[in-house]
């Protein structure tokens, strides 16, 4: 088999796409282009019957579009099969439709509990974060919670959260019932180093696959708690040539997905470049 040239953002998109099945309803939140590119890839390959519930535009939509910083809203509204109010999305579509959704935690612990509210002490934070949106709600009841971390490191994979704004796996059935939590916890996590589930002992995070050129030791060293390892742990399947082509040429030619994998100045420069390109395209 011919080896395909691909980048880690393309691999993450492909892993996300492979978690989506034809006919699914998928939701995406704000500023999650890796997830959006992954969903679009699924739509263009094995899941043509995918429906999108979008926080931008507040619609359910059945089409696909190349990613854009400025015109996605017009796409979601122009191709909407349903307009919803945000209260309808929250009180009806999410609890009853139970879409699949990928959340990006600022911190995640060994059991998939997450934090998107503060770094540091809640009353005297080191950094206030944008907020948890609907994560504190959906993670209590949804059977279809997925996580992704574009830059795997000890700042994100922590032994103890600074604040718990998302529920992970509570393996003890009595404890879970006592709390009133009905969600089984997150099903899956993909990072730029590997893929994981929560089937370790007591619901611990478990390494399923490591990405190309990444060792298990490296992943463990970048994780702030001991990982369980799946017995059949192996290298993550690479994207196909067609998946890479779709991402690069049709779904995200501007490389908006990279705004999640890049950091610091590189991210800033990429953002400027994308904006300039979108202005030229207008």
């Amino acid at each position: 088999m011919e080896l395909t040239d691909y980048t880690v953002d393309e691999l993450i998109c492909t892993c996300i796409a492979h978690q989506v099945a034809d006919g699914d309803l998928v939701a995406q939140g704000l500023a999650t282009p890796l997830v959006l590119a992954g969903y679009m890839l699924a739509k263009r390959t094995h899941a043509p019957g995918l429906f999108f519930a979008s926080a931008v535009g507040n619609t359910v939509c059945d089409g696909w579009s190349p990613l854009s910083l400025t015109t996605m809203e017009a796409f979601w509204l122009g191709r909407a099969v349903r307009f919803l109010t945000f209260t309808e999305i929250i009180c009806e579509l999410l609890p009853i439709g139970q879409p699949k959704e990928f959340f990006r935690p600022a911190q995640v612990d060994a059991y998939g509990h997450t934090n998107n509210v503060v770094f540091g002490d809640y009353r005297r934070p080191r950094l206030r974060l944008p907020g948890a949106g609907g994560i504190p709600d959906v993670t209590t009841y949804s059977p279809r919670v997925y996580l992704y971390v574009p830059r795997h490191g000890r700042a994100t994979f922590v032994p103890k959260l600074d604040f718990r704004s998302g529920v992970g796996v509570i393996a003890d059935e009595t404890e879970r019932r006592k709390l009133g939590v009905t969600s089984p916890g997150p099903r899956y996590l993909v990072s730029d180093l590997g893929t994981f589930d929560f089937a370790g002992s007591g619901g611990r995070m478990r390494l399923l696959t490591y990405h190309r050129d990444v060792t298990i030791e490296h992943i463990q060293a970048r994780t702030g708690f001991p990982l369980a390892i799946a017995p059949d742990v192996h290298e993550t399947s690479p994207p196909t040539a067609e998946e890479v082509r779709l991402l690069r040429e049709e779904i995200d030619p501007l490389g908006i997905r990279q705004l999640e994998t890049l950091g610091g100045m590189a991210r800033w420069q990429k953002l400027q470049e994308i904006i300039n390109q979108e202005i030229r395209n207008q």
Partner: protein
Amino acid sequence: MPAAAALVRPGDTLALGGMTLYRRPMAFVRELLRQGTGDLTLLAMTAGLEGDLLVGAGRVRRLRTCYFGLEVFGLAPMFTQLASQGQIEIIEETEASLAWGLRAALAGLGFLPGPGWLGTDLPAVRPDVKLVQDPYSGQRYMAYPALRPDVAVIHVPVADRQGNAALIGNLGIDREIALLAGRTIVTAERLVDSPADFGYQADIGYMSVSAVVEAPGGAAPTSCYPYYPLDAAAIMEYVQACQRGEFQQYLEEVVKRQTSSVKRQVSNVKRGT
């Protein structure tokens, strides 16, 4: 616009329509900044540029939102700075507490039970939100308290002079806050004889609207579908000004401006048959 902005009083809970960087009442916010109205409680499902200007200018004492940021353009700089320094009171909210709180108020109830929060640290930082037990199944729920804004401000593409206003999608929580607020102000890209002439139905009815203001370009640099998309370059200019520590200069400049220039139309609003 000045008369409409004067309907906002110090101490009010102010709900701003639109979502994040979409259809935000920017022209109204600039007028409010000119008038200097402060001590506000800002209520939004998601807050973005409009909120960051008000927060940075020191006009917001208290915040109720579940997301405050500029999406891929980054953190909302002034919110992040002032909230991290503890200079702003945050009433921790999530999608559920805001949505069920609005629905409770619409139903004329003091609260509604809803899913969420259980097993998280939210109840610990919101001791005012109580737990209730379903008398039938025994299941526990949060009892989200009713939310009633004093003033709602909603920028819309099309409205008539009585205040019947069409949102043309991106509904957010605009219908709810328009119904619930004691005073509702609509600013519109276009004032028309009737939205029906344009093939649209009103999402907001005249009986809940206190003032209507024509404000072409009134959402820029956020978007106003179908008239114009968000102006990414202008949002970057704001982020960069804040990075240089020049929020005050930016604020002074922006407050002077009557309306933002609108760079491009997505499409024209079509006249119905």
